[in-house]
């Protein structure tokens, strides 16, 4: 029971965090901030998926989290590489 | 939930169409991507919405409709391939013509800029 | 022969362990698969990892990991405090140059990663010769202290492990 409340709390936190991310996404002073926000959203999404797995009591969504971790990284690096060098594969 | 999903479909579609109506290749491709988001989710909803009923036999009693999911998989893959192609064509067009306009001159002859 | 079979033995071991984490079960079949993948994948990828790094003290690496984990958790609270409560004007961010004694790419990468994961600091760049790291500290009234801590607490340990 208490775990449920804690779960709801954390889900609420993540939801709130996502809304904060949204704000940053739009008033980002630099392109880096936008990429950073996207990365943060990815991490929050991982948390969300993991927590949903806990909530629903299945492990069916963990691979999604694995992939999110992997691809979030690749994506962020690619955006940065683009800013840094223009060509992401050179 | 249904309303949320439906409105998201509508939003993706609207944004997609608006961007497709732009005059440069890149926004058009972005628009197509948005449109495919909308359409893929639309196709997904053909199986109706359900939570925690993943169609993995043995994990529950009732399952979400697996067929639209399989169809969406196919659709995602196909739209990915198509996006890749049109992207490459956009590059090719830009490099060959020197600009990335989508519109052609009437009669398909190159515009003045193309010649330049 | 063995070297050709296992171009990166530590990688092989890591992969075997990771496979068990992944399949989340201990069965003979899993072991067979783990060993198979642990052998084949380093082979498949060895072309992109041409040189074999030297790890002199593998066990030291484990201890180092534990240390870093602890630092991560503790230091996170400091960052949380800064983010939440410290007035913006009082935050003293600073750039810190960390001259490197380490030479192994793997070790330097590990150091840089450690710096980033321990809150309050981010490894931001490397000198064009590879002999200094640029670290940004979120709140460092005394930048030299940051440098000294890093060199003493992490780099020294890594030096022992790798070189």
């Amino acid at each position: 029971m208490i775990l449920t409340y804690a779960l709801i709390f954390m889900l609420g936190c993540i939801g709130l965090a996502l809304l904060l991310n949204l704000v940053r996404l739009f008033n980002a002073p630099t392109i880096t901030d936008r990429i950073l926000t996207l990365d943060t959203i990815t991490v929050n999404a991982i948390a969300l998926v993991v927590l949903y797995g806990v909530w629903s009591g299945t492990g069916l969504y963990l691979e999604a989290a694995v992939l999110l971790a992997l691809t979030g990284f690749v994506g962020t690096v690619a955006y940065c590489k683009y800013i840094l060098r223009g060509s992401i594969i050179e | 939930m249904e309303a949320l999903v439906a409105s998201a479909i509508g939003m993706f579609t609207a944004v997609g169409i608006y961007l497709i109506l732009r005059l440069r290749t890149f926004p058009v491709i972005l628009g197509l991507t948005f449109l495919s988001y909308g359409v893929n989710v639309f196709l997904f909803t053909a199986g109706r919405l359900a939570t925690n009923r993943a169609p993995i036999i043995g994990t529950g009693e009732v399952y979400a409709d697996p067929l639209p999911q399989a169809l969406v998989l196919t659709a995602i893959v196909i739209s990915f391939g198509m996006t890749a192609v049109v992207m490459m064509m956009a590059i090719g067009g830009h490099l060959e013509a020197g600009h990335d306009r989508v519109n052609m001159a009437a009669g398909d002859t190159d515009t003045a800029e193309d010649k330049a | 022969m063995l070297r050709r079979l296992f171009p990166h033995p530590y990688l092989t071991l890591t992969l075997i362990v990771l496979w068990f984490l992944l399949v989340n079960q201990i069965k003979v079949g899993s072991l067979v698969m783990a060993v198979f993948l642990g052998t084949i994948l380093p082979h498949l990828t060895s072309a992109w990892w041409p040189d074999r790094p030297i790890i002199r003290r593998p066990l030291g690496l484990l201890a180092y990991t534990a240390l870093v984990m602890w630092d991560v958790i503790v230091a996170n609270f400091q960052v949380a405090r800064i983010v939440l409560f410290m007035p913006k004007a009082k935050i003293r961010s600073a750039w810190v140059t960390i001259p490197l004694d380490l030479r192994s790419p793997e070790a330097i990468s590990l150091l840089a990663g450690t710096i980033t994961m321990t809150p309050g600091t981010v490894s931001s760049d490397m000198s064009a010769c590879g002999k200094a790291l640029l670290v940004h500290s979120l709140h460092a009234p005394d930048p030299d202290e940051v440098r000294d801590t890093i060199k003493a607490r992490y780099e020294a340990r890594l030096k022992r492990i790798f070189e």
Partner: protein
């Protein structure tokens, strides 16, 4: 059978000139002539039967379902026309042999001529009106080729096009008319139609059919107001003019009116339309002919006039008039063909046809003059020549026909005859009489008999028919007129009808008036030149050219190359049609319980919506747009997870990142910002269109979701059979690799082709010199100093095998748990991409052991073979099998053929993505960047260790 052969012979003959031309011009002409002669002989063999009052028929089934059959019949009318076509055709062939210059491609000429001849013969022999239509249009086509034969002459090209436009257009009306006619009768067989006069004339469709058919006939026969094309067709070589515009093509319209006379004529509509058109044409064209200086133009308008005369006679609707019409057809063919040939000789010899530059030829070319004299006197209606006979009969009929008033027709006919006399004499007087001049472009002489032989022969006929009409022509006239009128005709043709005959006085008036007109020519000419009058060509050009310009303008306006227009129109059309369809049906209230919404889901939804909505506002900064699309794509994945679709979540995540990478790669070669180019109003309009589409699609989704499916979904079967039937617990995967594996088969091929296309395009682009130039001047923005940071490379060394392991895991469990070959392939691809990003394309690719093309090929091949393999067991393509295997010391595991198929999927996906990215990376190499030889830029161990 022989009739079909007669019709077919010219077409077969059309093939010969092209082959024979190498054997020389004589051989070519001889062969062409022999074919025509053969057809003529065959026709003659049938003549006795026809003249005896019988009809010869041939029937070959072609398209019986439509009622279009190759049926031919030969009656008097057909005999007359076929004889004329073949006979004069033969003369023309001979004449043309000597007329055409060495530089003219003679083979081509004869080919066209024979095509035309065949088409004409076909028209007159057809016993099926659809078949007749085919030959009819063929005459338009082949005459187009003949008129334009001298391609280098602009008048020839324009004349040909004008002729085609008018006669072809008329042909289209004729099609409609004939179809209506056939529809009324229920048969397209002429012999049947001709038996149904009452049915046809009582039908509501009679008038439309009549008008449409007459449109066809009038255009072909150059009747007012469609007369204007004929003079312009005179740009053709003279043999063509002689053939087409005296004896044959223009007579096709007359033939048609005569052919259908029994069922169409006799009504007031027929009378008013046909006789009026004929009368106007006759008078007007005769008047114009009088003022024409070009010999051929004069003859052309004269032809128009005579056609009008015959049309008028047919229009009267009486048996007698029809008989006269038939007679005049014969007479006109003889003298007019002769005259055209004469004009051609003059042109050939004097190098001009302008009456103002001629005169006095009587002395220089007496034979030609003799021919011209007889023919033009006949044209003028001077006794005892054949033209006189039919003109007298015509005037007599006109005098007795009431048209508006009792006398109007007679007066107008006389005026027509008057001009006829006038231009005929002018032809003679200004061309041949008078003194010999010294300023001919070329001094003319009588040509050899090759040229004058044919007209001379015709003039002999003119004379003979004139002198002995009852012997030479009456039998043919009777036979033909019987066919036209459907009753037995026994004509009596005489030179003298008595003093009480109106025609006598009308004739005298015409001759007298004509001579007076010729005398007053200079003054009349001045009047004529002063009067404003419509120039046909200018009117035609004034219609057609603006029409073409309008078409060009419209087409350019509608198809202006605007993509946004195309999409905008499409969206509006789809939305409108869908709305219309929706409102035409019923949609009842929802039947399902809706899912509740958790706050966190609301938050995710909100972020997703706002990020999407932001895209139109921020899209000009393209990287920002990519970040936004990244956010949206990323958040769709947890949504799929939440909605019980783990496989979709996996796929969405991995496809998304590959898409983003691709777009970043692409953006490097594209402008970084999108300029503002459309006006605010435009953007607002686009936003409205987009909004409509969004609301519509969203509404559809909502409407669908709130109701349960009308029938049990077929997926119940998939869920039930997933484990027992397909051997996997992941129903989505069993659908993908088994139940609907064929979809997946297509899908991986799509992906594979996509990569091939990208590769091919990159090859092409790289080969293009302009691209090479552009790439060489490629100046990137401010750049970082290091390309391959060490830390990324080092971590990739660990992550690469780890990611691959995850890929293997996802592949292996896919059948039972979320995952499968597709996602696995993507994970592998992402892993490789990571490597490529870390150490660069050249360095990484050099260490890549597998050829991307081959990966795709093998993927497709394995998937195909996995499908084909089931044939060996007599099962259909892609039939799967699975078995649980127990192999000590391993736990029991499953072996499924679907896994082999999935391997094909895996390879194809991997190969496709790698090939696509490799293609893009090769472009980057052309920007002048150097290739690295080491994994990372800065190696601290260098010299340190």
């Amino acid at each position: 059978m022989s009739l079909a052969l007669i019709a077919a012979l010219p077409f077969l003959g059309a093939l010969l000139p092209g082959l024979m031309i190498r054997a020389g011009r004589d051989a070519c002409a001889a062969v062409t002539g022999s074919v025509t002669l053969l057809a003529l002989v065959l026709l003659a063999l049938n003549a006795p039967t026809v003249l005896a009052g019988d009809v010869v028929q041939t029937r070959i089934e072609w398209l019986p379902a439509l009622g279009l059959n190759a049926t031919f019949f030969l009656d008097g009318l057909g005999l007359l026309f076929a004889g004329m076509i073949l006979g004069i055709g033969l003369l023309i062939i001979i004449y043309a042999r000597f007329y055409l210059a060495k530089s003219d491609p003679m083979g081509q000429f004869y080919t066209y001529l024979m095509l035309f001849q065949g088409a004409m013969v076909g028209i007159v022999l057809s016993d099926n009106i659809l078949l007749l239509l085919i030959f009819w249009e063929l005459t338009s086509l082949s005459s187009f080729l003949l008129i334009g034969y001298w391609k280098h002459l602009p008048e020839g090209r324009q004349g040909a096009r004008m002729a085609l436009a008018v006669t072809g257009g008329g042909g289209l009306a004729l099609i409609a008319g004939m179809l209506i006619l056939g529809g009324i009768v229920g048969s397209y067989d002429l012999t049947v139609i001709l038996d149904n006069k009452e049915l046809i004339q009582a039908s509501d469709w009679y008038l439309p059919a009549l008008i449409l058919i007459l449109l066809g006939a009038f255009t072909k026969s150059a009747q007012f107001p469609f007369h204007f094309w004929l003079p312009h067709a005179m740009a053709a070589p003279t043999p063509v003019s002689a053939y087409l515009h005296s004896a044959t093509m223009v007579k096709a319209g007359l033939f048609l009116m005569a052919r259908l006379w029994p069922v169409l004529a006799g009504t007031p509509e027929w009378f008013w339309i046909v006789s009026t058109a004929g009368l106007i044409t006759m008078v007007m064209a005769a008047k114009i002919a009088f003022f024409k200086d070009d010999l051929k133009a004069l003859l052309a308008f004269s032809t128009v006039s005579h056609l009008g005369l015959i049309t008028m006679l047919l229009g009267f609707g009486t048996k007698a008039a029809a008989t006269v019409a038939v007679f005049h057809i014969i007479n006109h063919a003889t003298f007019k063909a002769a005259l055209f040939m004469t004009a051609g000789i003059v042109d050939h010899e004097a190098h001009t046809r302008d009456l103002r530059r001629l005169g006095g030829l009587r002395h220089l070319m007496p034979i030609t003059f003799g021919v011209a004299l007889l023919a033009s006197l006949s044209m003028a209606g001077i006794p005892p020549l054949n033209g006189f006979l039919s003109k007298e009969l015509m005037l007599e009929e006109a005098a007795h026909t009431v048209w508006i008033t009792p006398w109007a027709m007679g007066v107008l006919a006389t005026i027509g005859a008057l001009f006829s006399v006038a231009y005929s004499f002018r032809f003679l007087a200004h061309g041949f009489l008078g003194p010999v001049r010294d300023d001919y472009p070329h001094t003319p002489h009588d040509p050899g008999p090759g040229l004058w032989g044919a007209p001379a022969f015709l003039v002999v006929l003119v004379l003979l028919i004139g002198l002995f009409p009852m012997v030479t022509a009456a039998w043919l006239v009777d036979a033909a007129a019987s066919a036209v009128t459907g009753e037995a005709v026994q004509s009596k043709i005489t030179h003298w009808h008595g003093l009480e005959a109106a025609a006598l006085w009308m004739s005298l008036a015409a001759v007298g008036g004509g001579l007076m007109a010729l005398g007053a020519y200079p003054r009349l000419r001045a009047l004529w030149d002063a009067a404003p009058r419509p120039e046909a060509k200018r009117i035609f050009d004034g219609v057609i050219e603006p029409l073409a310009a309008l078409a060009r303008g419209l087409t350019g306006l509608v198809h202006n190359g605007s993509f946004s227009r195309a999409v905008g129109v499409a969206v509006v059309a789809i939305a409108a049609a869908s709305l219309w369809a929706f409102r035409g049906g019923d949609h009842l209230a929802g039947t399902r319980d809706l899912l509740p919404v958790e706050p966190v889901v609301l938050a995710v939804w909100f972020v997703m919506m706002v990020a999407a909505l932001a895209a139109p506002f921020f899209h000009r900064d393209r990287v920002v747009a990519l970040v936004l699309i990244g956010v949206v794509g990323l958040l769709i994945a947890p949504m799929f997870a939440l909605l019980s679709a783990p496989d979709l979540a996996l796929t969405q995540i991995s496809v998304e990142v590959v898409t983003i990478l691709l777009m970043l790669l692409a953006l490097n070669f594209l402008p970084k910002v999108t300029p503002v180019e459309s006006a605010p109003a435009h953007r607002l309009g686009h936003a409205a269109i987009a909004g409509v589409a969004g609301v519509g699609v969203g509404w559809l989704a909502w409407s669908m979701m709130i109701r349960a499916p009308a029938f049990d979904p077929i997926s119940a079967f998939h869920l039930a059979q997933s484990k027992p039937g397909a051997g996997g617990t992941n129903a989505v995967n069993t659908i993908i690799v088994d139940f609907r594996g064929y979809d997946t088969f297509g899908e991986i091929i799509v992906l594979g082709i996509a990569a091939l296309v990208i590769y091919a395009l990159s090859e092409t682009v790289l080969r293009s010199p302009s691209v090479t130039r552009r790439l060489a001047t490629f100046v990137p923005e401010k750049e970082a100093g290091d390309r391959h940071p060490m830390m990324l490379v080092v971590s990739t060394r660990l992550l690469l095998p780890m990611a691959m392991m995850v890929g293997v895991y996802i592949y292996l469990r896919g059948h039972n748990m979320p995952g499968g070959g597709f996602v696995s392939g993507l994970v592998f691809a992402i892993a490789y991409l990571m490597q490529y990003m870390a150490s660069g394309y050249v360095w990484s690719h050099a260490r890549q052991r597998y050829d991307h093309h081959a990966l795709i090929g093998w993927g497709v091949l394995i998937a195909s073979l996995a499908g084909v393999g089931s044939w060996a067991f007599g099962a259909p393509f892609l039939t799967s099998a699975f078995e649980y295997v127990h192999l000590w010391p391993l736990e029991e595991f499953e072996l499924a053929t679907a896994v082999i198929f999935d391997l094909g999927v895996f390879l194809c996906v991997l190969g496709a993505i790698l090939l696509a990215l490799a293609s893009l990376s090769r472009l980057a190499l052309r920007t002048g960047e150097s290739a690295n030889t080491r994994a990372f830029d800065i190696d601290p161990s260098e010299g340190g260790r």
